[in-house]
């Protein structure tokens, strides 16, 4: 049985994998030690003809307490504290460093609804809600090597945009705008899933993320922009899934 994480196509996903790996290693060691102790006690200290009484101690002596607290604190420092410091660092220098000022970042507005994802990019004029926006249904097309900055809203219930190959997810909550950013390191087609129960068709709320190398992405973008201009219908409800990136209006 091959137990593998989904293919990691992201810039920062290895930090997630690293945290999980560290936890597996350290908790594995701790558990193995505890299990060995448990099994030893069961095997060696079972009642039998020559063993009819236990040791009458309440474990209240200073050395008993010292032992318990020392092991507990060692585990706490080795597992929790180390991990917390590492995670804090990763969050502050990677996951929570949103590319607000990065001109290379691709900004995408995501509208979640029962049961589909709408993705909108600003088009050549750089503004959302204008006729040149590229709007796609259940498909997100991104260039490799650029930060992809998503802001999300929901039309109805709580959904959660989940990108297994990028080790990330963020909820889309009615009445709020949430955000996430990630970056692809390789081209390919990856799945988008909904990770928050959102009704009877939650299981079908699937999307497709296509990451392309720069040249191919530019080709795609040119075609998509032409399509958008041709298909633009001012009366279509697609325009309601748009808001000003900076102000949120």
């Amino acid at each position: 049985m091959h137990i593998v994480l989904p293919r990691d196509a992201s810039l920062d996903g290895h930090l997630v994998d690293g945290a999980i790996g560290y936890l597996t290693l350290t908790t594995g060691i701790a558990f193995a030690a505890a299990l060995a102790f448990l099994l030893a006690a069961i095997f060696f200290h079972r009642a039998h003809a020559r063993r009819t009484r236990g040791q009458h101690t309440h474990g209240n002596r200073p050395r008993d307490r010292a032992l318990m607290f020392t092991v507990a604190l060692v585990m706490f420092v080795a597992i929790d504290v180390t991990l917390a410091l590492r995670t804090s660092r990763d969050l502050e220098s990677h996951f929570w460093r949103y590319p607000d000022a990065d001109p290379n970042a691709l900004r995408v507005e995501v509208t979640a609804q029962q049961w589909a994802w709408t993705f909108r990019t600003a088009g050549p004029d750089g503004r959302f809600g204008t006729p040149d926006d590229v709007v796609t249904l259940n498909e997100l097309d991104i260039p490799v090597g650029h930060p992809i900055y998503l802001k999300l809203r929901s039309r109805d219930v709580v959904h959660s945009l989940y990108l297994p190959n990028f080790r990330t997810k963020i909820d889309a909550i009615p009445g709020m705008t949430t955000r996430i950013w990630f970056q692809a390191t390789e081209p390919g087609r990856f799945e988008i899933a909904c990770a928050q129960h959102c009704g009877v068709n939650h299981y079908k709320m699937r999307g497709l993320l296509t990451a392309r190398l720069e040249p191919e992405y530019r080709d795609w973008l040119a075609r998509a922009e032409t399509d958008s201009r041709l298909r633009y219908d001012p009366a279509a409800p697609a325009t309601t899934g748009a808001w000003d990136w900076e102000t949120g209006k």
Partner: protein, 602 residues
């Protein structure tokens, strides 16, 4: 001081002994509308066991669908899912996982452990004749019963049972996501269930504070009592927060308020996240509410069956209290993906991690109790040892979810499902069985069959671990929760064999419970008559007949020592290895030995 001196000082303080009230007569007063805590405890136990079976069957159906998406369910398919030709439809599936979670938490574990064993054992363990408020106790059972009736009714209303998950997040649980009356009935049922819990909490807390027998200091209480006492404090404080969430959800659904309603509805200025805050403010203490009785019971039973005192009783009590306090400030770890502020997120992460310190102390006390014991591997002990094992795994997997980095990936995957089932459905379930096998003789006056008990243990323990560790694996591989058909996703298609394996283990687990059913009812009818103290332990319930008389104790006992005086040197002279809590012995007990003197060579 010596036992004799203790008795003398306690008698001086005891004042008049409570009069023994007359036993009730008539079928209704004795078995239906009884105010006797023992009867009410058995009522809760049977109610809870019934719902445990229903919730378990729902789990089997869920596992069927995940193993064979879209295949008709054998045997019961046509009956349960007639309109869809025996196949579980997506609607039915969402109702199944919603009701499975709701039933297991609120209508199985809570009534069995807290309503059932809490009621039956608490007065006996502390040397009282009944709870502080016997009629409130009866009201608490019938309120719970009413809640089950309303929950059952939700299956039969237009648009069917609730489908928003046991967590019922807004706005899926508001009229936006759930237009029918089923969800409203669910809200009412949960509210009534909570009311029953609060009534019970008022009773248990007052009983422990006020009705302990003379000499039963807090530090001489069996750990089981501490478990029920602390759980009741959390119940009293945090179930009302759930009640607030339910009240506001009810108003949103029925009276047009918009506390939680937002989105494209015009003027809807509510906040779905408000629901999550209120729900998880309750929800996190709730998981400790469920596990605290188990920790208490296992602490006592490990000592009893290892034939030595609990290792570090005081540290354990301190750790339990620390967990209770910390549990109130960690709830945000259920909401890491909602985009909360970094400072808030990191605070919740740190506090959640800190809980692992007192929790590990509790585990160490278990291990220390076993070490250098003379372990008797009776059925209750097997379940306790199984609990220690799965709690170890389950508890450690909690750390993955405490860490924000890992949690962003693992949140709402089967890793979470595996984690909480290892604790709730494995550790907690095994504690529950340990409690049943342990107190069955006292409750029903008969012994359960030991051979069937051991068989039940192994056929439960092994599949339990396979099912829930299997879920850890598929969660790690990315499978998200509440999926009707995982094969919609390419990245989940390779997990079908694993899902199938998990389901097969689950079917075995379900089937194995029949052994328990046979043993339970068979022993009720024809088990060997139980003596007063078949386990040879010193807590007070074993000093009275099995089952106890209506008034529990002829004379309120006077307690002179702790609950775990096993392998006590002074017991040797009496030809056994245990001393009762209220047992007076003539000699002053030897001081605590600094090196083991009374054990055989290790």
């Amino acid at each position: 001081m010596s036992d004799r001196e203790e008795i003398a000082s306690a008698e001086g303080q005891n004042g008049e002994q409570e009069e023994i009230p007359p036993a009730p007569t008539g079928f209704l007063r004795r078995y239906v509308f009884s105010i006797d805590h023992k009867v009410i405890g058995r009522q809760f136990l049977f109610l809870g066991l019934g719902f445990l079976a229903i919730g378990g069957l729902m789990a089997m159906l869920i596992r069927w669908q995940l193993a064979r998406p879209g295949a008709p369910v054998p045997i019961v398919g046509k009956l349960l899912f007639g309109p869809s030709g025996g196949v579980i439809s997506p609607v039915a599936y969402t109702a199944l996982f919603t009701m499975h979670g709701t039933i297991m938490i609120f209508f199985a574990v809570t009534p069995i452990l807290i309503g059932g064993f809490g009621n039956f054992c608490l007065p006996l363990l502390i040397g009282a004749r009944d709870m502080a408020f016997p009629r409130l106790n009866m009201a608490s059972f019938w309120t719970m019963f009413a809640a089950t009736a309303i929950l059952t009714a939700s299956f039969f209303v237009p648009l069917g049972p609730p489908e928003a998950g046991w967590t019922a997040y807004a706005t899926l649980s508001t009229t936006i996501g759930a237009p029918g009356p089923g969800q409203t009935l669910w809200v009412v049922a949960i509210y009534l269930n909570g009311a029953s819990s609060v009534m019970g909490a008022v009773n248990y807390i007052t009983t422990v504070l006020r009705m302990r027998a003379p000499g039963m200091t807090y530090l001489r209480m069996p750990l089981t009592v501490w478990g029920f006492f602390l759980t009741s404090i959390l119940n009293a404080l945090f179930v009302p927060v759930l009640a607030a969430a339910m009240v506001l959800l009810f108003f949103d659904r029925v009276l047009g308020t918009q506390f939680f309603i937002a989105g494209t509805t015009p003027g809807a200025g509510g906040d779905p996240i408000l629901y999550q805050h209120l729900f998880w403010l309750f929800g996190h203490p709730e998981v400790y509410i469920l596990i605290l009785p188990a920790w208490g019971i296992v602490g006592d039973l490990l000592a009893f069956f290892a034939r030595k005192p609990l290792f570090g009783y005081r540290v354990t009590v301190g750790a339990l209290i620390a967990v209770v306090v910390l549990s109130t400030v960690v709830y945000g770890h259920h909401m890491f993906t909602t985009g909360m502020s970094p400072l808030l997120g990191e605070s919740f992460m740190l506090l959640t991690m800190i809980i692992s310190v007192p929790t590990s102390l509790i585990v160490f006390s278990w291990l220390g109790t076993l070490w250098r014991g003379a372990i008797r591997m009776a059925t209750p002990m097997l379940f306790c040892l199984g609990m220690v094992f799965t709690f170890g795994v389950g508890g450690l997997t909690g750390l993955y979810l405490a860490d924000i980095t890992a949690d962003i990936y693992l949140h709402d995957t089967y890793f979470v499902v595996g984690h909480f089932h290892l604790i709730m459905a494995s550790a907690l379930l095994m504690s529950l069985f340990a409690a049943v096998y342990f107190w069955f003789p006292k409750m029903f006056g008969r012994m359960m069959n030991e051979g069937l008990g051991k068989l039940h243990f192994w056929l439960t323990f092994v599949p339990l671990n396979l099912v829930f560790m299997g879920q850890l694996v598929i969660g790690y591989e990315g499978m998200q929760r509440r999926l009707y058909d995982p094969s919609v996703y390419d990245f989940l298609k390779p997990l079908l064999p694993l899902n199938r394996g998990i389901s097969h283990a689950a079917y075995l687990l379900g089937a194995a419970q029949l052994i328990f059913v046979v043993n339970f009812f068979g022993s009720l009818a024809r088990g060997a008559r139980a003596a007063a103290n078949p386990w040879e332990v010193g807590t007070l319930e074993w000093t009275v007949a099995s089952p106890p008389p209506h008034h529990n104790f002829d004379q309120i006992p006077i307690v002179v020592r702790g609950p775990h005086e096993l392998s006590h040197p002074a017991a040797r002279a009496l030809g056994r290895d245990w001393l009762g809590q209220a047992e007076v012995i003539e000699t002053v007990p030897a001081p605590e030995p600094t090196a083991p003197t009374s054990t055989e060579p290790a």
